[in-house]
């Protein structure tokens, strides 16, 4: 038997952990496309991985090829997987212990006498992304504006 509170928290926790893994994967993009290095002050910097491509350029003397350094990040399709929605539903026996509502799972879902008992309840939980709080959204947008000003 498990209390309703703990059960709901467990389901939510599992989904949030899965989402955290996906969030970490977007941080992982940095590791895939940037190399860690140090600047003159010894501070850590991320240097984009680049490949050099010969690019044709027409000059007075004809076609010349110039080297263009292309960050790998701009060549790879970037996808950020996210969880759209998780729907969880279960059948359980309602029970009481220590004056609290508890859930007891059916041992055999094909057992008619058990599944037709009037103690059987159905629980459905839908977990979906919530809008980022306005304050945080404004901060992130502010950072983005500052970033755009710095990028040539």
């Amino acid at each position: 038997m498990i209390s309703l509170n703990k059960f709901i928290d467990s389901v939510h926790d599992a989904v949030v952990s899965a989402n955290d893994t996906l969030t970490d994967s977007s941080v992982g993009i940095l590791a895939r496309f940037f190399n860690k290095s140090k600047d003159e002050d010894g501070k850590e910097i991320l240097v984009p991985e680049e490949i050099s491509i010969k690019y044709p350029h027409i000059s007075d003397s004809g076609v010349e090829y110039i080297d263009v350094n292309v960050p790998l990040l701009t060549l790879a399709p970037l996808t950020c997987p996210t969880i759209d929605s998780v729907e969880f539903s279960t059948k359980f026996l309602l029970a009481v212990a220590e004056d609290q509502l508890k859930m007891e799972f059916l041992k055999d879902s094909n057992n008619n006498s058990e599944s037709q008992s009037n103690r059987v309840g159905n629980l459905k939980i839908v977990i979906s992304p919530q809008d980022v709080p306005e304050g945080l959204k404004s901060l992130v947008e502010g950072y983005e504006r500052a970033l755009k000003l710095q990028i040539p």
Binding site: H12, A95, V140
Partner: protein, 133 residues
């Protein structure tokens, strides 16, 4: 208003009122858990003094930019947007006045209580307590 009785020991009983309360408690506890998680998550993006965690990225030979980590991740907090609990009870265990009182208490909180007669047995009432954000 007793609804469920433990078959072996009759001393364990649960009222519809208690079920509604348990579900509300479970939901609000979960909200607290979620709020705590949100704050803990933010600590990954901000230092204790409030400055954002930055990644220094080289954009050309001589220039670097400092990008807040929060701008580099796909942060979409997940929370419970909907849940429902449904079960059947015998109609003799329902006190309409008390149910009406319960409904008035949960009005405006996103909770909804639905009571309907079972088609096969009119002594059975199906109860659905739901929440939608």
């Amino acid at each position: 208003m007793r609804i469920f009785q433990h078959r072996k020991r009759n001393k364990h009983t649960l009222s519809l009122c208690k079920i509604i309360l348990s579900l509300k408690e479970a939901f609000f506890d979960n909200q607290e858990f979620f709020n705590g998680y949100q704050i803990q998550k933010l600590s990954e993006f901000y230092k204790e003094d409030g400055t954002p965690v930055l990644r220094r990225i080289r954009i050309d030979k001589d220039r670097f930019i400092e990008v807040p980590l929060i701008n580099l991740v796909n942060y979409a907090p997940l929370c419970i947007s909907e849940f429902s609990l449904s079960f059947n009870i015998k109609s003799r265990f329902i006190n309409i006045k008390e149910v009406e009182k319960q409904i008035s208490q949960i009005e405006g909180t996103g909770f909804d209580l639905f009571l309907g007669r079972d088609k096969g047995d009119n002594k059975i009432v199906s109860v659905k307590l739901s929440f939608k954000r």
